[in-house]
Subunit: 374 residues, 2 copies
């Protein structure tokens, strides 16, 4: 018995998308699932109660950030991340790999690990696969991630080849270092940039290590959508049917639907919270920038089809005023609405899988939302 | 019949403090009452639901700020401030006088009104008593305030004398301009700096104008607490028993208790929200600066005697982390707690009046909170 179990409930006959449920030590969540991102142990602007109210069943937090501040020792002392942040549902933490490679200027990669400078105070730190697991063991998250290298796009073929080989060796070390397999499930991460053969090779190497779940990493980093979909199409079918598959860092509405159609079960992205804080909201008719002067006298709700707290109680004119006046409630309402929009979208995707109509849903959604389907 | 009615329920036999209830077109509130401040049509960081949950019965908003942004025409179009900000309980708006005199660099006072520069874009504006009432009529607040001059402390006797004479003339013009007396109650404001004779004279002049409620303005602007208390002691007894008395801009715990003892029914202050955003919280054992390193590993709640959402669910260590990481939830929780602390304090004050023990309560409170009673 491991820490988690994936139950495949059914597949959409129209698209092959999977409806499932993942059981963890802190309860279960339905898939395909969108995970709101709580980088620093809080989903920016939201309280845990609000996250529950809008239907979040699992959230993600970032190992790199929590290691830097407040430090994983403080979180361990508090009884783990669930207790520290008062979130009793499942939590997934990343390994810190992505942040080490993207946030730190100075970094030095060796076989042993990565030396990097803190984005907060410039202090030097050394991350190894063992260190990334030790920190995540302290955090006590239900799903933890192997320490990997996430290469930029585009990236030289030979570099990516060396990188995935090292990422495999690091994944093995993570597996060996992981001491808490009954309470925390360690996922392996398939890398390989946009090279089909390297993605396939990385997938097979991860499969050999027999993880309770698999992630596809290093996508949505600047490559065209078609290349992302191609990478999913060549790797996801190799992954075992009885384990969850997680597409890392992806969360725009089109990617969520296209990812689910390609067999992905889990997604995370800062998009809804980040654009919400800047006053952009996702609606059933497409994105709107509520800060725009066009909404100064618009006394309708953000989205007529939404029943979130923001849409039930406030007008675009009021929310625009709050944003212009830099009032906190403005970004709270936009963040809440955007998260609800994506969580509701996943609910609709799951219903469409039940109805064997995800292909039809995709077409309808893209025509009303204003995205092109591919 | 006017817009509001004050019911005097009882007086504390130990102190003379008044327990009462004010009835308005948007429901009633118990007095002595603390009004959270929603300067720009939102109590910073809070949602209307949260304000209700912590027991706020009336809030204050600022005419100057709403006139500047979004503009009172937009709020009128939205159906008034209650509808615009989704707050269905009583609202009091100030007249803009205080902000015109304190926020604007360039200002030019004549008998007709005040010319000043916007704190947002430097544009020039002209406020008159009639304009202040017109704006407040557009906002639709239950209690509106006369346009007055709030002089700085200290201030030359002769200037204050001229100023209160003008403030009386302006109050008369406000009363004449007020078109919505059945829905909005206009309060007169007693000024006079720290000069007993001028305070008394201002009070008598306001009484002659027969307002449905009276405010004491221009205190807590830098003068010693003793002088503030002296001013209350010489003016409040002159005010009619059957009208509410409002001490403007005052909200530290000691001032609330001392004000109630001197016959004040209503208070407002940005203190709990402002210090909350900076990570200072009011507790039953005194103020604590949660940002301090001392609380990094303090896994107790902000205040063991508080049952607010912040205290029920989070530790000082977590809230400190949020504040250090500049996370919005941190200032939300501190703001919520501080407001609850003051609203609870007023509840205790009202109970002490019922029990005829407000003097005992004052002594106890000051010894545990760490303030000196005078």
């Amino acid at each position: 018995m491991g820490a988690i179990r994936y139950e495949l409930i059914k597949k959409c006959k129209q698209t092959g998308a999977r409806l499932g449920r993942v059981y963890t030590p802190h309860g279960s969540f339905e898939t395909p699932a969108f995970m709101p991102v709580g980088t620093q142990g809080t989903v920016k602007g939201m309280s845990p109660d609000e996250l529950k109210e809008i239907g979040a069943e699992i959230i993600l937090s970032n190992t790199y950030h929590l290691y830097m501040r407040p430090g994983h020792d403080i979180i361990r002392e508090a009884g783990g991340l669930h207790s520290f942040m008062n979130w009793d549902r499942p939590i997934l933490t990343d390994s810190g790999g992505f942040q080490v490679f993207s946030l730190s200027d100075l970094r030095d990669i060796t076989e042993e690990g990565v030396t990097f400078k803190s984005h907060i105070d410039g202090s030097r730190h050394f991350f190894t696969p063992e260190k990334a697991i030790e920190i995540q063991n302290s955090l006590g998250s239900d799903i933890i991630m192997a320490f990997d290298e996430c290469v930029p796009y585009p990236c030289d073929y030979d570099y990516v080849k060396k990188s995935i080989e090292r990422t495999t060796r690091w994944a093995r070390r993570c597996k060996e270092a992981h001491k808490n397999t009954e309470k925390q499930a360690l996922f392996g991460i398939v890398q390989g940039s946009t090279y089909r053969d390297l993605r396939i090779r990385s997938a097979y190497e991860m499969l050999e290590l027999d993880f309770p779940g698999y992630a596809v990493g290093g996508l949505s980093v600047g490559e065209p959508a078609e290349e992302m979909y191609e990478m999913l199409e060549c790797t996801v079918p190799l992954l075992p049917e009885d384990r969850p598959r997680y597409l890392m860092g992806v969360g725009s509405p089109d990617y969520l639907i296209e990812g689910a159609i390609r067999g992905i079960d889990m997604f995370d992205c800062v998009l809804p919270t980040r654009i919400g804080r800047n006053g952009t909201v996702l609606t059933s008719r497409g994105r709107i920038i509520v800060r725009d002067a066009a909404y100064a006298r618009d006394y309708s709700s953000l989205d007529p089809e939404c029943d979130c707290y923001a849409c039930r109680n406030f007008t675009r004119a009021y929310i625009r005023h709050l944003l212009k006046a830099r009032e906190i409630l403005g970004l709270r309402l936009c963040t809440l609405h955007n998260l609800k929009f994506l969580l509701d979208l996943m609910k609709k995707v799951r219903q469409a899988i039940i109805d064997d109509k995800l292909g039809d849903f995709r077409k309808e959604f893209f025509s009303s939302f204003g995205y092109k389907s591919i």
